[in-house]
Symmetry: C2
Subunit: 656 residues, 2 copies
Amino acid sequence: MIKQIYTLSEIIDEDLKRETLTETEKLKLAKEIKQILPDGYIVLAQTNPTSGDIEGNAKKALKWIKWANLLEAEAIVFPEMFLVGYPIGDFIDRFPVIVEENIEWLNALALKTTKTKVIIGFVEFNQSKKGKKYYNSIAVLYDGKVQNIIRKSLLPNYAEFNDYRHFEPSDVNSDRRVLNIGNKKAGIIVCEDGWNDFDFFDKNLYSFDPVETVVKEQRPNYLINCSSSITRAKKEQLKHNMLSFAAKKHKTPIVYVNQVGSGECLSFEGASRVYDANGNLIYMAKSYQEQFFIVNPFAAEGKIYPLPHGLEKTLTEQKAFSLDHEPDLERTYLTIIQSIKDYFSKTGFKRAVLGLSGGLDSTVSAVLLTDALGAENVFGISMPSKITSSESKNDAKMLAKNLGINFIEAPIKDMFDTTRQRFDSIFSDIEKKWDYRYKESFTNDNIQARSRAMILWGIANEFQSCLPIATSDKSELYMGYATINGDMSGGFAPLADVSKTKLFALARWLNKHRENKNAIPETIIEKRPGAELAINPKTGKPLLAEEALMPYEFLDEIIWRVENLQQSIKDMLSEEFLYEKHMKEKNTPISKLQKEEWLTKFFRRMSTALYKWSIMPPSPIVDARSINKSEYKQPIISSKINYNKTSFEEKLKTLS
Amino acid sequence: MIKQIYTLSEIIDEDLKRETLTETEKLKLAKEIKQILPDGYIVLAQTNPTSGDIEGNAKKALKWIKWANLLEAEAIVFPEMFLVGYPIGDFIDRFPVIVEENIEWLNALALKTTKTKVIIGFVEFNQSKKGKKYYNSIAVLYDGKVQNIIRKSLLPNYAEFNDYRHFEPSDVNSDRRVLNIGNKKAGIIVCEDGWNDFDFFDKNLYSFDPVETVVKEQRPNYLINCSSSITRAKKEQLKHNMLSFAAKKHKTPIVYVNQVGSGECLSFEGASRVYDANGNLIYMAKSYQEQFFIVNPFAAEGKIYPLPHGLEKTLTEQKAFSLDHEPDLERTYLTIIQSIKDYFSKTGFKRAVLGLSGGLDSTVSAVLLTDALGAENVFGISMPSKITSSESKNDAKMLAKNLGINFIEAPIKDMFDTTRQRFDSIFSDIEKKWDYRYKESFTNDNIQARSRAMILWGIANEFQSCLPIATSDKSELYMGYATINGDMSGGFAPLADVSKTKLFALARWLNKHRENKNAIPETIIEKRPGAELAINPKTGKPLLAEEALMPYEFLDEIIWRVENLQQSIKDMLSEEFLYEKHMKEKNTPISKLQKEEWLTKFFRRMSTALYKWSIMPPSPIVDARSINKSEYKQPIISSKINYNKTSFEEKLKTLS
């Protein structure tokens, strides 16, 4: 009977998106739902705010609040920081007017509230003469007023999180954290406040656990956690285990409301949920979409919408590097799609133009853009040079046809020739003053890549709301194997956090799971990657990426070990790589010397790639760790780091 | 008599830089100095580390320590974080091997110590199961051992500072912070630990003052502050007042040792110093260079090397926006020069190539590069298009001649024509599918800017150790008046934190104060800026920047108000701008409507410029606040921020 609610509430979802219902229909639907619902129900407002668009966020909140009022729900709960939108970068520091505005919009919203309690995240001024300017706070609004304010205590300040830059940490103040919702007492937790259980974690970042304090001091009937927590590889398992553990430990249900949608590089998957007092998951909202989700923390008849495939796997199953990336492909796909969609819509762009080389990177990019923006909004340009093979040209054409996207072929021969001619005369002039000319250079490779980017940016200049796409992948970015103002240049870079071996797996997954099956020509997945910018003198054929770099299987495992295990060269030399195992099985084992050479090459190339990372366009964070600027920053001048531990004796000798 | 020391110690400086002395000469010099010096002298090691180059930093430290040992100085004091180098970004988080290495190098250094106490900054592991991974610590080494470790308590986490991302704040532990140096007791303070005096600041970031704790609990005879504190407009005045205030308040001399040199975007000016117990400045080291500086906190016969012009001005004198920027030009010049020098040397580059347009930005860039790298290492390329005036071409040529830099002229007509032709055919193909073509576009402007960048990057590909230079200035970056992959693209951007009105003042200053007087042709300073990329249909002449944007004098004051006063549109409407005053004096007053239009235009353009900021090359931070990525970050998706406060009534109406 209760389950009927979920069918009916999907009509509310539809109305919230497209305003499908008249006032009368709304009242009728509300009545219908109220008849089924016993007391004690609250609404999880799993919403997608836009950073800084306070008016837009406030208007969205009001639409949701009005629905909750209509249903006479006990309460409606929004994510952390909803009014200002998340992420915020440093804008509240530079423009205090934004915070003044969010306070006024909060007060205006409060005037619209009834008995239904509204729990919503905003930014509060710190009026004290000590500490940072602001608090990261949750307001409780009802009966036309702001009735209570809860301040976040634990302020994450690692990776993509910068809370401590702007907010003053608050004491727990457990008495302020509780409120009556119906006949139950709820305790409010703000995101990171719920991530410091001393029994669950081996190592804790903070010295106290606000959850424990609230439970001990206030004995609430259940806890509500307002969050803006991003999706990353392996994080869902950790989150699930942790929330379930805490619910069980404290013998209290936990209601967890998470933001959905993407903001520049950060993606929130939603998947708001409820655990009962035994730690069992009893409700789970949809992933990667907004949802008006009706729950009762004390009724086990909840709806559990499924997580994207793979997310249900436990943490321990993913501790080794693998090549199929099987558990993570659907999440990767959904994260990137949402990220493209939201980046375009939140910045006002509608269309994408990209170069189609017939290679894996541009191919997968095209598929993802098609699914995010619609085929009619994607333009693929094949821009062959004399090195481009006819197979590549055909593959590009075939792909565009399969996807139904717009396509033209525009050879770059004339641009290349004219530029080369111009360069020849300039270089010979410069040589008269500077005798530093390289014997061999990447100049020709780069003219091709840059001519192509010139065309894509030209199209973006000429056609409305159009962004050029940078197609570089994570493996190549680590190696600096990307051309400045060339393939790494664009308005958005969908694959910058996807390694090459994962891209192969993703291409196969797309062919299998998209409605339009096998859109990616098999030849594209099967050919070995290469930029087709230069000829390998040894083979007489276009230089392959693995000839210029190292086997991708090996490279991607280095990346994985650096990001997930923080290993040094010495650490990696002492452990067996998957590629080593595979080669041993094939009776062509990798020598220690070869392994050392690749490892050294990796760190040498990475050091010179730092500049490229610093000028990469925005791109979705996907993996557990990334080199995305909004998460990780290393000074470009740090090129002399020794990633290989030397012995103490060597050091002493050097210092003599 | 004591003053003789400073002449002799300059020989030590010379030896530390170029290893000019034999062992016998060193012993002789040391003997000479020791004869003059009474007891109680310590050495301030004002040094320039390289981020992550622990071996290099350790070797440098050893050279300095050996000299201090030779002189039998009581102690030698290095800056905060010296061993790892500063800034660090996030590299110690991603690569713990770096921290392991810095511990081993510290232990190796300790073995080289004698009775002379070495006080040096490094990164320490936090062994506890709670808190962040590391401490920002100072080691005290002598008699062959690490004898004591002091941990920083106040961890700055605003603007360019990210201490709290990586370090656990420590209790003051005042007993660990004191050590005997000769017959005096010194208390150790680590940078920000000294910036929280409750009597000096109106608003304090932290809840306690480590200086007060150390003074009250330990009664040291003097304080030593190990710092890595960057130079910014107005900061010297604040620092001087604060340190002098604290010395006087606590009746104890303060020895302040600061890092020198630049790391990517951050510049340290050195100017290490000593205040006596009455708050009088009694010693000041050189600015913008390394120095082995011998001081006695209890002897007023100190040497005070002068600060760059302007830095001695008091804070209050600079509260209004001015056009001459007089007090800050020498500091600006020295900061940028040091920044170019260190960026090039620390990344292994030697030469720069830049486009010379005959405009102000490229002109001032060329002068600064010449002074930083030497004329022989700079190549200016004039790349005229059909819009370039013959005056501009002549100005560029004349400038290059005056500076003695390398120069060629390379017209871009062929590249422009071929690209335009290619574009025409592509655009007409695309138009068949997409009817979104703009009636007017910036395509032609951008082809010119991008062809020029293509040439500069081509030269960098072809000639060793050569970086192309991006010449965009701060005013234009705020307005997004810079071409992606064009003039804003490069390996380094010397002027990105210098506004246009300041650039004019700087150009005049350079002509007056450089040894080579009037290198910049007067015509360049006098002509009104314009990109010479398009013709203004109204005038038939190249479009001027102020026609496309707004008067620079007005624009730069908006920037100044946003950065220094955090004003909103409403705030700025209620105050008179310098430009308004000037125009009123000329009997051509600015209407309120016009002012509103410019303000709105500023914020609208700024919102769409955020993407450009995110892909700007590294550049020196100069002003009190900047839009440099290492200091300020705003999500690109935040384009819907309303910078103009609306009334509460309007808000309510919108929410109905």
